[in-house]
Amino acid sequence: MSCDLTGKDLIAWRTARFFKDGNVVNLGIGMPTKCLDYLPEGVDIWIDTENGAVGLNGAPQPGEDFDPNVVDAGGRPSKLRVGSACFDSFRSFGFIRGGHVDITVLGAYEVDARACLANWMIPGKAAAGMGGAMDLVTGSKTTIVMSTHTDKNGNPKLVHKTELPWTGWRCVDYFVSELAVIHFIKDEFGIPRPHLEEISKNTTINEVIQKTGAALIVDRDIRILEDA
């Protein structure tokens, strides 16, 4: 079965294929929450929110009774599912740094060829702060960046070297775009290197290489992203 989605929906669909039944997953604000629309059949995940709960269950419907004391990491009203648990912030971040969160999904300004992530500040622009992102990318077992392959001016989001301040150093495991899945695998010296693993059925290896700022390693059978 092949998926017919495109753009951000395709990115969300593919990212959700990384989730295994029972995983604890932290989804960044914005595009990452779209993954919930595309959970694979039979995969039930626990949504971690760094402000102190596991088991978030979406926003209350208009008119539905809800507890204003339950919010997601964006501060928006949310519900808790049966089996959820609440905890304080310092334990929440202990769980995160301690490697107890399976997957963190977040967006990026840029990712570089050594898996360093920049997503919290652009020099010269007012910064809103990193919130919990630095802890999440440092401690989660797997960090997935969801991103369009290029920005709105056509510049690559995966670059050789970013001039932007990092959120995390050598922290990204997967870069998922509408064109490709790129897997950072550590070399013999422990340095992450970007390996091309999947391309969209609507593109070619050459087009992906051309639209990527980092030198990709193509050393394995390239699968079709929509068949994941």
């Binding site: 204003p68 919010v71 501060g75 009203p77 310092f90 990193m130 919990g132 630095m134």
Partner: protein, 239 residues
């Protein structure tokens, strides 16, 4: 047995002062001691040094202190929900120090737990390491050594984050008994539990004040002996 219940007016008049440092827990709008903040705003107390995770949204919670120009310095992880804070930071009216959210928790925990500092991998090779001491674990020697930011990383590297402590903490509780035992609710708990440990004077505003003995000892999240005063707060009605 002591009864720590008092009024907001009295405790603020007696224990808060211009130039004080204050721990203000809360995540965006939940778990913020808003009744105490209102009480502070009814006085002339200003020039606050705030430790918080964020500054709520414009005109609510900590955002009220921002709007009224009561904050001189703030240590926090995020101000993205409050454009007024961003504006005052850019204008130089508020001096801001960003701190990753998990590091903020641990700095305050250290401040409240008598620990001289913590080592965290969070923020290594980011602007968060600027001006801080860095340590690297040498597996062969079995010891830590101090390293410079430009030294190539060989072993696991950590930032030494120092403790935070404040003059006063404003805590928001779901229930407190008259002795000061506290229970928080859902994600309103957030920074309240750890922030309550790291101030010289800890004021709890509770949505519900109950008699001693009504709270199950196993359910108490902040025990009475670290709480100095309990006041009646308002319930959160919207997130």
């Amino acid at each position: 047995m002591r009864n720590k219940v008092t009024t907001i007016e009295k405790v603020i008049a007696e224990k808060c002062f211009t130039g004080m440092s204050v721990l203000l827990p809360g995540f965006v709008n939940v778990g913020v001691a808003e009744s105490l903040i209102d009480g502070l705003l009814a006085t002339d107390i200003t020039d606050l040094t705030v430790i918080s995770n964020n500054t709520s949204v414009p005109g609510r919670g900590i955002g009220k202190l921002v709007r009224a120009n009561r904050i001189r310095k703030i240590t926090c992880s995020h101000i993205g929900n409050n454009a007024e804070t961003c504006e005052k930071v850019v204008k130089g009216e508020i001096n801001i120090t960003f701190c990753p959210q998990g590091s903020l928790c641990e700095k305050v925990r250290a401040g409240g737990a008598g620990i001289g500092g913590i080592l965290t991998p969070t923020g290594v090779f980011t602007p968060m390491q600027d001006g801080k001491q860095l340590l690297e674990w040498d597996n062969e020697k079995g010891e830590f050594k101090f390293v410079k930011p430009d030294d190539p990383a060989v072993g696991p590297r950590y930032i030494l984050e120092l403790p935070l402590h404040a003059d006063v903490a404003f805590i928001h509780a779901w229930k407190a008994d008259t002795l000061g035992n506290v229970v928080y609710r859902r994600t309103s708990r957030n920074f309240n539990e750890v922030f309550a440990t790291a101030a010289d004077y800890v004021i709890v505003e509770a949505e519900h004040i109950v008699e001693v003995g009504e709270l199950d000892p196993d359910q108490i999240m902040t025990p009475h002996f670290i709480v100095d005063a309990v006041v009646q707060g308002k319930a959160l009605t919207e997130a």
